[in-house]
């Protein structure tokens, strides 16, 4: 089984760990597959304007360097740890209302996708790039100031676009995903080192991008595990 984490932030957005260090941290811990998913924040709200102003967001002008850096670090991670690193982003539409907020991971993305677009356009663009679309922390969360319920509340409209839903995020578990029998994964929403120890995805497939995407889309051979550090001497 492959030990995977598809939800990792770095100092490219609001993470506290640099890309290289984050990759080393996961490589050292024996992970097989990770996705770097820094925020792309919608600039429509006051929150988004601030995030863009203070560079807590990937923007169109730095997307290429972000992407190339991930690819380059990915090569190093493969040589050193035999760990696969996928480039991704987290489309971040946040407002003061839970019902208007939604975050979506686009994994194995190749070109910039703006968070200011409407969801339909974002999803179609992601499909065009053959990226995985994951709805993250889709239900009530213990850690977020404002829950991101928009996609869940509009699931009838959007579920057909979404490849998987986060059934667990960091320490939270969203049982509604299980009740609706939606395809699922788990991720750490890694921002700080301590977030390494959180819910993770296990995949029973080859360590190869297409196989991983298939495994998640068909949602067979997917399991979740609570990754703990043990107690060092």
């Amino acid at each position: 089984m492959l030990l995977c984490d598809f939800h990792i932030h770095t100092t490219y957005s609001d993470g506290s760990v640099e890309l290289r260090r984050a990759i080393d941290l996961f490589g050292q811990a024996g992970f097989d597959v990770i996705a770097i998913t820094d925020h792309v924040v919608s600039g429509e709200t006051a929150f988004g304007k601030l995030a863009n102003r203070f560079r807590f967001s990937i923007q169109e002008d730095n997307f290429n360097s972000y992407f190339e850096n991930i690819v380059e670090e990915g090569r190093r991670a493969w040589d050193r740890y035999r760990m696969l690193v996928l480039p991704g982003i987290e489309i971040t539409k946040s407002s003061f209302s839970s019902n208007q907020s939604a975050h979506v991971l686009l994994i194995d993305i190749k070109t910039f996708v703006s968070a200011s677009w409407d969801f339909e356009k974002i999803f179609l663009e992601a499909k065009k790039q053959d990226a995985l679309i994951i709805a993250c922390h889709p239900h009530h969360s213990s850690e977020l100031m404002v829950d991101t319920l928009y996609l869940w509340n509009h699931r009838k409209k959007y579920a057909r676009y979404i490849d998987a839903w986060e059934i667990a995020n960091r320490d939270d578990v969203f049982n509604v995903i299980s009740l609706k029998r939606y395809p699922y994964i788990a991720g750490s929403d890694f921002h700080r080192v301590r977030h390494l120890y959180s819910w993770k995805t296990m995949l029973n497939c080859e360590k190869e991008i297409e196989a991983i995407k298939q495994c998640i889309r068909y949602n067979r051979g997917v399991a979740i595990t609570l990754f703990r550090d043990g107690i060092p001497f």
């Binding site: 030990l3 050292q28 811990a29 024996g30 740890y81 035999r82 703990r228 107690i231 060092p232």
Partner: protein, 403 residues
């Protein structure tokens, strides 16, 4: 007023001691690493079994294990032992095994509860599976250079030498707990170890790296003889010395990589080590408090009040200590940013407080379990039920005095 001058006197004594520690580190590192140079032929290097007790994800674990696979040494095996197949360290060792298929690496998964010392419990299965005549006990959080085995084994050419241990330096800090940890390892621990060796010829055994002959270890009862003591490294060294053999403190430094420690972990470790030294040293443990000039200078605030003179005194002592720590850090390539040394007085304050805590309580938390520490760091189980505990302590007190 008189008390203030007494405090100054003790603080100055502490500073002089610290100065001697710096001199000891300096002179010890200058020496040639080994008195022997006769092992030119590759056939002369005997095979070594490296025992790695693993539990959880230590910082830098992958790189640490990898550094042992890069050893410029003809024949050795690495035996990694975990108590549980679900331990995350297991995956890391598997990855290392795949990366170095030509190396003799084994993972031993065996739950062992023979003793109360969890590290010895973890070592025992690996020791049973080891096959070579030389045993190296090496902690999971150490990283070594390519010539580490070659340099250490040279001392054991002399049959009078029974154990080789190494100096350690803390590197790689990225969080406040690891800054404190590395500052303490590189100043107090390293300084004291070198000072005791230089001035009193007492080699402290550092459990992170112990190389010995299997026959010598067997002669002192094997690892099982140390399964119930907290300071297994110290007592292995003591038993070796009792046999009339020498314990060598090699000046080939090993790296202890501490990257992401929290303050709690730092305090827990040094409280445990403090209690261990208190049980081993007895009243001599007071010397450690005198060896903490920053903490002593802070006590002037109690006797003198928050006066300008007291603050000037504290600032001067803290500055002198910080400069000394910086100097040692430079000497051992600790790779700490100069600003980190401004944390040194806060670390010393914390260590001073831990000193009092270590003599106030005789229980220790290790790997999530609490134990009672008796004389010579002998561990006993501790119940959370306080009335039972007091009865147990009373019985233990009688038992210790009766034997």
């Amino acid at each position: 007023m008189i008390i203030f001058w007494i405090v100054i006197g003790f603080t100055m004594l502490g500073l002089v001691g610290f100065g001697l520690q710096i001199l000891s580190v300096r002179s010890y590192l200058k020496r040639h690493p080994s008195p022997f140079h006769g092992l030119d032929s590759i056939r002369a290097y005997p095979p070594i079994s490296i025992l790695k007790p693993l539990s959880g994800l230590e910082d830098n674990l992958f790189n640490n294990l990898e550094s042992f696979c890069h050893q410029d040494y003809p024949k050795y095996e690495i035996l990694c032992s975990v108590q549980d197949p679900n331990d995350p360290a297991y995956r890391v060792v598997e990855r290392i095994k795949k990366k170095f298929p030509d190396k003799e690496i084994s993972i031993i998964v065996e739950r062992c509860n023979e003793g109360l010392n969890p590290k010895v419990n973890n070592l025992l299965p690996a020791y049973r599976h080891s096959q070579y005549p030389y045993i190296l006990i090496s902690d999971s959080n150490v990283m070594v250079e390519r010539d580490y085995l070659k340099k250490n084994i040279q001392f054991l050419v002399d049959p009078q030498v029974g154990l080789v241990t190494n100096l350690i330096r803390g590197v790689g800090a990225k969080t406040i707990g690891s800054f404190f940890e590395n500052l303490h390892l590189n100043s107090f621990i390293l300084g004291t170890v070198c000072f005791l060796k230089e001035f009193f010829d007492i080699p402290c055994v550092v459990g992170k790296s112990m190389l010995m002959r299997r026959s010598d270890l067997e002669a002192i009862g094997g690892l099982r003889a140390f399964k119930d003591v907290l300071a297994e490294d110290h007592f292995i060294g003591e038993e070796i010395k009792k046999r009339g053999q020498e314990v060598i403190l090699a000046n080939h430094m090993i790296r202890n990589v501490n990257e992401y420690w929290g303050l709690k972990r730092f305090m827990n470790r040094h409280l445990r080590w403090g209690k261990m030294r208190w049980k081993i040293l007895g009243y001599k443990y007071v010397a450690e408090l005198i060896g903490n000039p920053v903490f002593l200078s802070l006590t002037s605030l109690i006797f003198e009040g928050p006066s300008k003179r007291a603050f000037l005194f504290i600032a001067t002592v803290s500055l002198a200590k910080g400069i000394g720590d910086y100097y040692i850090g430079k000497k051992v390539n600790a790779n700490l940013h100069p600003f980190v040394y401004f944390l040194s007085p806060f670390k010393d304050l914390l260590i001073g407080l831990l000193w009092f805590m270590s003599i106030a309580n005789n229980t220790v938390v290790w790997r999530g379990k609490r134990y009672l520490i008796g004389d010579n760091t002998v561990l006993s189980p501790y119940s959370q039920n306080s009335s039972w505990t007091w009865r147990y302590r009373f019985i233990n007190w009688i038992r210790i005095r009766a034997t």
